[in-house]
Amino acid sequence: MRPIRWMRRNLVVIAGVLTLVYLILPNLVVLLFSFNKPKGRFNYTWNTFSTDAWQHPCGVADMCGSLTLSLKIAVYATIGATVLGTLTAFALARYRFRGRAATNMLIFLPMAMPEVVMGASLGTLFLNMRIQFGFWTILIAHIMFCLSFVVTAVKARVMSMDPRLEQAAQDLYASPLQTFLRITLPLAAPGIAAGALLSFALSFDDYIITSFNAGSTVTFPMFVWGSAQRGTPVQVNVIGTAMFAIAVLLVLGGQLIGGRRKAKA
């Protein structure tokens, strides 16, 4: 009887763990098959263990070029979207003004629009303006769809901040600039960081919008898409696994530092 009672009590947790397995399973497959040495061109069935791909991550033509391009675009898009988004978020969180509701709507809509619609319409615009597709059109598109996510993250954080802290700083004769740099910005930093991280991930990973605005420029997701038709190289799994590991380490490291700082305080 006892295990049954335990199962009943922890039914939710069991279901939750199963969902987690569903979420992580593909990543484990990607990891496993990064050590595969496929028989043919397609890396779908297990053949023999090999670390070839890990030793020569750039052994495939054009792959590392596209990877560098994607990283570059992601960095620029993150900077652009974070700056514009943070300013917008402060306006929305801190001020009441005419057009506030409309602005909220404008921020929400890109998140509520299927990517294929945004990509196709922006692509049509560029096409008709005779703007050359390439690095800049991709960057413009990426900043556009990352912006809303930054605004949402920063706005939530700024709204939950205690306004009395800033008032206290001003009571203690801090200038507006000092107050902003030493009180407001550090308090808003987690929200800004979350927005920036999300932008980076979204931009690096985007395929749909990019495919409409890239012309003949090939980003990493576009490389993966192209290679999927003729057999994905094992190196793609290496990059996927490495990105996953770096992300987990970064977040866990950040948590550790944050935790230690909290413990000190």
């Binding site: 779908y44 300013l87 003004f97 404008l106 990517e115 294929v116």
Partner: protein
């Protein structure tokens, strides 16, 4: 949470008989323009690269012509009619697949969000990281991994065959024969997987705000755990349910990656059609009309939802 509690600077001068000094008036005006200055760059960016293309898209959809002769606005509304008569199965399929995926996401995402919010204890942050981390492996690579998992002779598919689950899904019309790849089930499974974090995170955010003492109070009043969930927890998590449903359904309805990689030609969704009209057939008016119809459908759904939930909850 509304702006009322935010420290909005006083923008209106009090009705005072004493004339307000000009310097003060100037300062007030300057302060009033602050939000607009902050907004300027972001809003202009969205107006130029998001709203303008949408409007332009509408005009493209009523143009005729070809790449060589150029496109002209001829108010050719027949494009819409032709697009709908030819591609309505794709529209229906998109809405059905993404609808099923959304329901599945809610069904399997809720227990995980609940676990993180109430049962995870010190594992909470680790589990949250595990939910977000897959994002960092390109989602194309992860969708390709599903090809391996759902391949015809894979352990999972053999297992599902052995316990006759696939017979049941075949009866439901979700699979064909004894395979999963290139069937509606594979596409729905991929969609559910890809958009699951978009469901879990809003759910978690609203569940986390639920006061645990309410559960105790409900238990003290002799509610069974199920009643507590139905009458207390679930209603309180409604904002998360609404946001999560939208964030799952909308991107899923326009997705074409899953249909392309995991499905066959019989599972093509509207995204596939728009993409191929735009990038391969180069029939821009049809692509524009199709994405305009999709956009209109989505906007209608979102408006309905926002009527019920309010934008402040979502943004």
């Amino acid at each position: 949470m509304t702006a009322a509690s935010a420290p909005a600077p006083v923008t209106e001068a009090p009705p005072d008989p004493v004339p307000v000094p000009a310097a003060l008036k100037r300062a007030a005006r300057r302060r009033r323009s602050v939000p607009y200055l902050l907004l300027l760059a972001g809003v202009v960016w969205l107006l130029v690269f998001f709203v303008a293309p949408m409007v332009y898209q509408a005009s493209t959809s009523v143009q005729t012509g070809s790449l060589d002769t150029g496109f002209k606005v001829t108010w050719h509304f027949a494009t819409y009619w032709d697009a709908l008569t030819e591609y309505w199965p794709h529209f229906v399929r998109s809405l059905v697949y993404s609808g099923i995926a959304t329901v599945l996401c809610l069904a399997i995402g809720y227990p995980l969000a609940y676990t993180i919010a109430f049962r995870a204890g010190r594992w909470r942050n680790v589990v949250l990281v595990l939910v977000i981390a897959p994002f960092f492996t390109s989602f194309l690579i992860r969708t390709l991994a599903w090809e391996t998992i759902l391949a015809d002779q894979s352990p999972l598919v053999s297992f599902l065959n052995d316990i006759h689950v696939l017979d049941a899904t075949t009866w439901l019309g979700l699979t064909e024969g004894h395979r999963v790849m290139a069937t509606p089930l594979a596409v729905v499974c991929g969609l559910t997987y890809n958009f699951l974090p978009f469901m879990i995170l809003p759910l978690y955010t609203s569940l986390e705000r639920v006061d645990g003492r309410l559960h105790e109070a409900s238990g003290d009043l002799y509610a069974t755990p199920f009643t507590t969930f139905r009458k207390v927890t679930f209603p309180l998590s409604m904002p998360g349910v609404v946001a999560g449903t939208l964030l799952t359904f909308i991107p899923a309805s326009g997705d074409y990656i899953n249909a392309e990689l995991l499905g066959s030609t019989n599972q093509k969704m509207i995204g596939n059609v728009i993409q191929s009209q735009f990038l391969r057939v180069l029939d821009y008016p049809t692509a524009a009309a199709l994405s305009f119809i999709l956009m209109a459908a989505i906007l209608a759904i979102v408006t309905l939802y926002i009527r019920r939930a309010g934008t402040e909850e979502l943004v």
